[in-house]
């Protein structure tokens, strides 16, 4: 019950539900999860961006291109938003948007 409650409000530290394969990612078998599930200090590679429209475009413009490496720098004091390092730049995203970015460990 407690678990469900915290999961619902996004306060859990554990793994998020694995992404249901988005329309762009057909990969099977490989461990893929979304950016918001990566804990600070870890690096991962972008597989693809889900969704459509302005948010997606803005993320692409900012350099969230498939194949690029991305490092989760830190959480905000209240765990949301998160700070990411993409090449030389530091970008801040809400978890909700980070959940649109499918990544691969390593």
């Amino acid at each position: 019950m407690k678990q469900v409650f915290f999961q619902a409000i996004g306060w859990t530290k554990g793994k998020d539900a694995p992404c249901s394969a988005g329309r762009c990612c057909g990969g099977e078998g490989t461990c893929h999860c979304c950016l918001d599930a990566i804990s600070p200090g870890n690096t991962c590679t972008i597989r693809c961006l889900r969704g459509c429209g302005p948010v997606r475009q803005r993320l692409l413009d900012l350099g969230f291109q498939p194949g690029r490496e991305i490092r989760v720098v830190r959480n905000a004091p209240l765990r949301d938003p998160i700070e990411l390092q993409l090449g030389d730049t530091f970008i801040v995203l809400r978890r909700h948007e980070a959940a649109q970015i499918e990544v691969q460990h390593g």
Binding site: L60, Q65, R74, V92
Partner: protein
Amino acid sequence: MAETGGSVLVALAGQQNAGKSTLFNMLTGLQQHIANYPGVTVDKKSGTYIAHGRTFEVVDLPGAYSLSPYSLEERVARTFLLDEMPDVVVNVLDATNLRRSLPLTFQLLEMGFRVVVALNMMDAAARRGLQIDVAALQRRLCVPVVPVVGRKGQGDAELRDAIARVAATEQVVPATLNYGSLEDDVARFQGALAAEPRLRGLPARWLAVKLLETSDEAEALLSTRLENPHSLLDALFRTRQEFEADSGVATGDHISACRDRKATEILAACVTDTRAGEVPMSEHIDRVLLNRFLAPVFLVATVWAIYQLSIVQGYALTDVTWPLLAGFRDLVAIVLPDAGFLHDPQIRSIGLWAVDSMNTLLNYVPIFLILFGLIAILEDSGYMARIAFILDRVLHRFGLHGQSTLPFILSGVFAGGCAVPGVMATKGIPDARARLATILTAPFMNCLAKIPLYTLLINIWFPETKGLMLFYLSTLTVMVALLVAKLLTSSVLRNEETAPFVMELPSYHLPSPMGVLRRAVGRTWVYVRKVASVVLAVATVIYVLLQFPGVPADRQVAYQAEAEAAIARFYDTLQGNPLRAEVADPTRLMTLVNLQSEHAAQIEAAETPSERQALDGTLKRRHPDLAPFLLGGATAETQEAASALDALATTRADLRRTLRRDRLESSFLGYLGRGLEPVTQFAGFDWKINIALLTSFAARENSVATLGVLFDQDDGQNLSLEQRMGAQQKAEGRAAVSAVALMLFFALYPPCLATVIMVRLQTRSRKWTAFSVIFPTILGLAVASAVHTVGTSLGLSGLQTMSAVYALTAGLLFVVALPKPWLHGHDGPALGEPAK
């Protein structure tokens, strides 16, 4: 295009924070003006400069990452480029972040513009250890690349040269970017589009790429230009489908990836990072400043420091500047016609009224200069973005946005600010819903002008718990603003567009004194302009409403008779006194009476006995014949004269005061104040308070000034307004609860007129402007009525009532802030009253 002699249209394009505005200022100097792009709130800055005998008109386009139609800024930039066809486009790049900047450059080149690349922030790049091979970059891009440092004005001449040179060249062949597996399709559509006579003038390749990217706007353009675009659109649709089926990647993603790859490739060839792998300085700082536990501490410390420096020290500074304003008032008083015995010339009253209204507002200028300077330092240093990062979670819960912080701070989160620059600062919020919510709630903050009324009421009713009451008030308003924001975003604003919180954290850097000064002065100037225009105009209207229709004729006659009787008594007393001859002439008597009031005021203002003596001395020198009336003296005659004048002056002052109050009561506003009593009685407001609140709509400072007139002293006693108002209100049987209701109403009071005008400018909607006035009025009245009624019926003390309201609001805030998992993504139901 670009005929010799005609003016050259230059557009500055680039991403946000690439330093476009700095370069714009560098190129145009002071020759600039700001307007809006047609139909949108985006500022259009344009300016001119002259070089090589030609005029260059420079337009600063809004910041854009690409030319996609998704954001308003990008749409505006794109429309301008397509419609106006600038002769030269200066593409401003952030040298520290070329990889992200270059895709826009590719698109500008694709559109076939004559482009000059201004490589800005070269100094920052050098500091970061980036070595940029400008010659190689120029070779790769096939356009002039000029390294500049906008903040220091380096590269100014080179940039102007390059613009002039490029403007004189023939139309360039558009540079092309190879789109790999999509290249054949691009070429095919480019050919088809170029063959359409109706699309002449539009860059065919760029249009082909845009159409393949699935850009609705490009399709709309095609539909309006072509009679039968369907075959083309069908072909496009098929091509996109086939490509997606073959490669598993959407065309848009493929195109964007091609640009990114090209940028990476150019970067690898032209930029050497000598410090690759090192942790940047900013990251070192952030490890401390954004530490999970230290971040709130630093945030609170920053806010406290701003409060101390601007509000506390700023107030100390107003002691220095106030005499200047007072001196100006005196000067105006001298220039205007002299006062009459009972009635002053209309021009004098209105002139002094205007100067007084203006002075109360101008008195805050030192505070604003410091406050806005500090905020500019926060912005330029990069810490403001971090504040947004820290607070976004909290603000987002209430439907606001991390970037709502700046408007709130400017409007006065910690007792002191102004909603006018606050509302203006909402411009940067990308989320339309959060932006509107911020515009509508920022005026709840405690602007500087609310403080005098709070101080007055607290001094009367809560002299022992001043600090606590002020703390209650200043934090309560923030809580109410958050609650109202939540209420609005989950009701009336529900269907407004929202945007994600995606923000780049800029590197820390030392703000330049010039930049800070420019911004501080600029924002203060907005405030001063408001004082000079709106407040002055409204002050005049209120003056008229307060003066007319005026005291009925029969009472006028009675006042006149009393005045004449007093003058007659004066002459009678001096019967046989040789000094009487001095003032036998009525105009001479008038001079004496005015001299008396002026002298009395000066004596009161003087602090030391020696100053008073000096004043007496000056008086003797200037008016040797009238001085005995004022100073008395050794002989019985002079003493008699002095006491006679004293009696006359007292009668006059009393008469004028009664007359003024009478006039106020029988003025339009007086009637309105009384007329509102049936509605406001539940909140415990009588007609006097109603009038004060009505006048404070023009500018909040007016409330105290109006109360000053309404709660007049009855005789020569010299009590402060606090004592007078306190005594009268207590005599009427009021309790501190009514003061609490009044303060709460004032905290929720609709924005002052200047703010309303700013809201109109920022929302561009009459509906929201009206809402910004009506909603707080209803809310404030409801809260005040509820508090007064409940507080009185329960027999609570003022402090108890305030504490109860505070606890209720805090509780409500807590309930709203708590996550509601059972609602799953839906926001809470509409809220009730924040305080009951």
